[in-house]
Amino acid sequence: MSINDRLTEHLNRGTVGFPTALASTIGLIMASPVILTATMGFGIGGSAFAVAMLIAVVMMLAQATTFAEAASILPTTGSVYDYINCGMGRFFAITGTLSAYLIVHVFAGTAETILSGVMALVNFEHLNTLAESAGGSWLLGVGFVIVFGILNAFGVSAFGRAEIILTFGMWTTLMVFGVLGLIAAPAVQLDGWFGESLVGTDLITILSLVGMAMFMFVGCEFVTPLAPDLRNSAKAMPKAMILGLLSVAACMFIYGAAMKRQVENVLLDAASGVHLLDTPMAIPKFAEQVMGHIGPMWLGIGFLFAGAATINTLMAGVPRILYGMAVDGALPKVFTYLHPRFKTPLLCILVAMLIPCLHALYLGGNTDNIMHLVLAAVCAWSFAYLLVTLSVVILRIRRPDLPRAYRSPFFPLPQIFSSVGILLGMWFITPPGMNPADIYVPFAVMLGCTAVYALFWTLVVQKVNPFKPASVEEVLAKEFSNEPGPHNNGYIDHAAKTL
């Protein structure tokens, strides 16, 4: 059977419908860093941040079509690695993949660790005072990491059955508070829905807010690997992405407008220019304004469970992935070690625990660093996006003959738009009042280390040309190599037939 036939057969297998695709696009609305980013973004930018969010939605939409095309050419388990490897070679593939997964985890995981405790306890005045006197409420997040790391080491799966309740609870909480905040009498007189921007409304200012706005839509490209499996994917996929992104945006707009209407953004520190909405303290104020004494308790409990569940997710997922990478030979063999009784990857769990804990300890749990971490994560994430886009463009030019079950419409306009947008977003990523070095330096250091590792791994260990793109046919042949039936040269011979 030719590679074309095998690919067609693969694409026809296990089709899913539009609802599944839509469910996949709607993600982590109530993750603590996302809420704080939204609060801060609307706080400093007001209507300018709302415009930045709209720009981010369109950019993400354009980027998602690129991911969808890549997934339809290479429906492999390697995903991002394979896309970049076939477009630009192993060096960029390793750097891009580690940037997308590991560096994002280093920054965003640390932000979640620090914030999960802070966001929960800030709603309980007495507990917060107690925690601060004991070293800081952020230590609760570190405690979560340690507790869930240990539970996972013993093979205990917390929250396993509560996913739907938690997800539903988060959505309900955010929407209830948002809608109540909108319909209640305003505590603040605003110009427009989101109020005036404290930092101006010129183009450069809006661009400087796009980086923060992009973080709202983290994970929106999750739907793209579905593209080959979607019934009528050419229509269903963009529809799912548009609806998914707009649902997230709508939820955030409601929350942002409600927050601005109900909480006065008072100046807390004239020297540093810190306003109330720049801090987690805005959350209990908002909750109390909307729902009285019960509000902060509700939000506090919500954040407590959301933070704990998110951290548990990291502790359950990351170690298994590290184990899988070790099985594939991408990490040293020692990472395949499993505990004799519980069959849990202890070393992998230890590494997954140490990364956010040590990073949070290094930063002293200071919430002033959260936005730097979030924006550094956005840089890492944007870098990987750029490499995927470049690879898809290169493959379109170099290999127009490849079978593509989904083709990005209006090529290359979405690619140009998303890439220019991402580059501008990265260039102007520092919002007014922040030091660019606090974002660029940690990101550059991490990216540099990753690049050095990629170069060493390809040149010294794998002994291959790091910049030679892999053949799509070879990557697919490897993916399908265990399929029954003859599959030797047939893959390569028939690859040039377009679907």
Partner: protein
């Protein structure tokens, strides 16, 4: 106005809510059969037939071992795991009811195979333990095998072995957004098939 449509409507709504919050509900974004597809390519068995969206039947080339493979999920917040379970059924010589769980012993390194009885006829335990020790090939296959769960049930005149391996699973994550299949290495794949064959051999005469 008739009350029947209202009652039906409420009943439908309650049914839908019950399904929504049911523990058995599939996680959002779960694609039944995708992990099985990866496993099919990973195992490279000549005979592999998907019988249901989440189940397949496979056998080794000479037909001496036939197994069912079932996909099941474990939900986490914004992430889910898809695991696969290998099931073999063997006719039993004697009728009875029993349930056993096998796991490796040892604190840091694997020192042996321990068999724990969960329910049923206690006389069978000694026989099963002895068989596991005496069958050298089975013992050799089980020791390095990264099985997460291994359960042996006797129900009437049939043994049922359920083995969940660490590999052959998939992590589907939303933040960061990706999915990754955890492969069975060649050694683990061979060990898995040898272990299942060995268990089939032992249980046939127990």
């Amino acid at each position: 106005m008739s009350q029947v449509p209202i009652t039906t409507g409420i009943s439908t709504m309650l049914q839908k809510l019950s399904e929504l919050f049911s523990a058995r509900r599939a996680p959002a974004g779960y694609r039944p059969g995708v992990t099985l597809g990866h496993l099919r390519r990973n195992l490279g068995l000549t005979s592999f037939e998907q019988t249901e969206p989440t189940a397949a039947r496979a056998s080794v080339e000479d037909g001496s071992l036939q197994m069912e493979i079932v996909e099941h999920t474990e939900s986490q917040l914004l992430m889910h795991l898809v695991m696969t379970e290998f099931v073999i059924r063997v006719p039993a010589l004697t009728e009875g009811t029993a349930s056993f769980e096998l796991h490796h012993s040892g604190a840091v390194r694997r020192t042996g195979i321990r068999c724990r009885q969960r329910a049923g006829d206690t006389a069978l335990l000694a026989g099963l333990q002895a068989s596991l020790q005496e069958d050298g090939a089975l013992h050799q296959a089980l020791m390095p095998l990264d099985f997460k769960r291994l359960r042996i049930d006797l129900d009437g005149r049939q043994w049922c072995v359920r083995l969940e391996h660490m590999g052959g699973s998939e992590v589907v994550n939303r933040m960061p957004a990706f999915r990754r299949y955890i492969a069975l290495s060649r050694e683990q794949r061979n060990g898995l098939l040898e272990a299942l064959s060995g268990l089939q051999r032992v249980l046939r005469i127990l």
